[in-house]
């Protein structure tokens, strides 16, 4: 499919335009995952000052939990959407309580190294039991099939992923920017000592924040299970792309993370259509360009 549409995209027939829309849709889906993951990274970085290298591994865990729930417990996709983020979120909170909290006050680099170690452990364990091949996860019955939009054929599940991710991203933005809880959170990011003096339990908030960020990653994992299969290394390469997304967008703003995530997904999709050879690398190349033009990233603040 890739090679077929390499040539002249302009002015060609509807078949080619359909391919373009199809790649745009794939781009939007990848963009949903980038947005959900970079959003979680930004939230965690804001509170814990840690770049969570384990984010990709926890995304993978989300997909595996959904797989186990279905195949061992007979619990369907819809409940998995709820339970997988909670289960992985609890796992994340245990990690935070037992390990990450001891890094407070140390150089940022130790957080990166620790979470890298956690990622290796989690991925290694899953690889050991499941190898490197993918496990199938069926699309739920309600979302099977597709609809004809006139200009393209839209598989319903793919449309659902994009819409649902967008809703979750906006809900997270609303939670952090517009609610009382979010105000505490933002205040604690700025000055944890002062917020503690007001009687707010900041360590608990940090734990819950890590759980929230990790839960978002797990949710992305569940969403991707029917599309990309469930593989132990599904998050390993993805997290590096998400790091590039974070460098491009900066971690200063929640909305910035969401927009950058979706935008880069779409650009990647377009690249798959116009110049497929570069589709793996386009995000990294864009990162280089952004660094050359505006070293602080698109949303501004200096690190």
């Amino acid at each position: 499919m890739r090679a077929t549409f390499k040539g002249t995209p302009k002015g060609s027939g509807t078949g080619s335009m359909q391919a373009l829309y199809a790649q745009l849709l794939v781009g939007l889906i990848n963009g949903s995952f980038y947005a959900l993951l970079s959003l979680g990274l930004a939230v965690i970085f804001g509170m814990l000052n840690i770049i969570n290298f384990a984010h990709g591994a926890l995304y993978m865990m989300g997909a595996f939990v959904a797989y186990f729930l279905l195949n061992l417990g007979g619990i369907n996709y819809w409940w998995a959407l709820l339970f997988a983020p909670i289960i992985v979120g609890i796992f994340g909170m245990i990690l935070e309580r037992t390990m990450l909290q001891w890094l407070t006050g140390l150089d940022h680099l130790y957080g990166l190294l620790l979470t890298f170690g956690i990622a290796l452990i989690v991925q290694g364990v899953f690889q050991n039991y499941f190898g490197s091949s993918g496990l199938p996860y069926a699309i739920p019955d309600q979302l099977k099939g597709g609809m004809n939009l006139g200009f393209m054929f839209l598989p319903i599940y793919r449309g659902w992923v994009v819409v649902f991710s967008l809703v979750v991203c906006l809900a997270t933005w609303f939670l952090i920017e517009k609610t009382q809880l979010g105000a505490y959170l933002r205040a604690a990011t700025e000055n944890p000592t002062l917020v503690r003096a007001f009687g707010i339990n900041v360590p608990r908030m940090i734990t819950l924040t890590y759980g929230l960020g990790v839960g978002l990653a797990a949710l992305a994992g569940v969403l991707s299970a029917p599309i990309n299969q469930v593989r132990p290394l599904m998050g390993a390469d993805l997290i590096i792309v998400v790091f590039a997304v974070v460098v491009i967008g900066g971690m200063g703003s929640i909305m910035g993370s969401i927009i950058t995530g979706f935008a880069l997904g779409v650009i990647e999709g377009l690249t798959k259509y116009f110049y497929p050879e570069a589709s793996n690398t386009v995000v990294f190349v864009l990162m280089v360009l952004v660094l050359l033009v505006k070293p602080t990233g698109l949303t501004g603040r200096a690190a």
């Binding site: 150089d107 680099l109 990166l112 620790l114 890298f116 170690g117 290694g124 793996n280 690398t281 690190a303």
Partner: protein, 322 residues
């Protein structure tokens, strides 16, 4: 910024003398390896990684910059050396030079890009850049994709030393390692190295004293990348192949692990760390993916309880810088 190493003792003549004694002991020990019956291939491999880890340590331990993409220098130099040796049929010494030159150029480009951001962003940028190169090498014809460049001729170094003989190869690799190590030792103890340490400890203050810290960090990056390339070029003669493994992010992670285990910011730590990790991989090769799990656990344990590393702990105990 909290310091990476708490023992920042000044480089007094006495400390330098101690370090030189340890260096001579290390060199003698390594030189006697062929007479002890230890598998030379293992030691040669460890020496290449030790040099790589020392180069990496120059950046993190003395410049405070955590590069998560040092595999790109190892792999790039490896591919270019291998190509020069096999396709252009250059003699070994020129093949090594080609690899070093490639790593030099690459480190100038990547350094120019990544030095623009600090701390955690720097790590993410170097990781992303090395992943970019990984995909380029995956698709470029001269690297032969998944197969890699194989069956590289070892040839005669300077027309005299037959590198296909294990003992000769061992001493060539050892001399290369010791030369690289001494160069790094010299850099660390030079005025340049002292400024680098000052930047690591307190960058705003270094700036206020009139140092252009970005230029110092850039130079440290180029030196580190080029020396990592030297390690990659040497490794080609040992492994006789150049493959995608050497450019993969997991290789970058292993280098970080070696340095962390040995001790960030210690002179001999990366060498000890490289031997520990390579030995571990050797002995645990039959356990499949559990090796990854063990490596991850070592990361976690080191960060939580053992941040000084093996040599760092010893140095702390004796109140010496090693």
């Amino acid at each position: 910024m909290t310091t990476l190493t708490d023992d920042t003792l000044p480089a007094t003549p006495r400390a330098m003398r101690d370090e030189m004694i340890v260096f001579v002991v290390m060199a003698l020990l390594l030189a006697s390896v062929p007479f002890t019956g230890v598998y030379p291939f293992f030691v040669m491999q460890a020496l290449c990684f030790a040099l790589l880890a020392c180069a990496f340590n120059l950046l993190i331990g003395y410049g405070g910059l955590l590069s998560f993409g040092h595999a790109m220098f190892l792999g790039t130099a490896g591919y270019c050396s291998a190509h020069a040796l096999k396709v252009w049929a250059l003699p070994p010494e020129l093949g090594i030079l080609v690899g070093i030159a490639a790593a030099f150029v690459l480190s100038i480009i990547t350094g120019y890009i990544s030095i623009r951001r600090q701390g955690i962003y720097f790590s993410m940028i170097t990781l992303a850049l090395s992943q970019l190169l990984y995909f380029i090498y995956l698709q470029a014809p001269f690297t032969h994709g998944e197969d890699g460049i194989q069956g590289i001729p070892q040839g005669h170094m300077f027309g005299v030393f037959d590198l296909s003989k294990p003992t000769v190869l061992y001493y060539v690799v050892l001399v290369g390692f010791l030369a690289g190590f001494l160069l790094i030792f010299r850099i660390i103890n030079s005025p340049f190295g002292e400024v680098l340490k000052a930047i690591r400890e307190n960058e705003p203050r270094a700036i206020s004293l009139g140092y252009r810290t970005d230029q110092y960090k850039f130079l440290a990056f180029v030196l580190s990348g080029t020396l990592a390339g030297f390690a990659g070029a040497l490794k080609v003669f040992v492994a006789q192949n150049a493959s995608l493994t050497d450019v993969h992010w997991s290789m970058s992670g292993e280098v970080v692990l070696m340095t962390l285990v040995g001790g960030l910011g210690t002179i001999f730590g990366p060498v000890v760390g490289a031997f520990v990790i390579i030995a571990m991989q050797q002995y645990l090769a039959g356990f499949g993916q559990w090796v990854t799990v063990i490596q991850g656990s070592i990361f976690v344990i080191c960060v939580l309880t053992f941040r000084r590393g093996v040599i760092g702990e010893i140095a702390h105990y004796f109140r010496r810088s090693l």
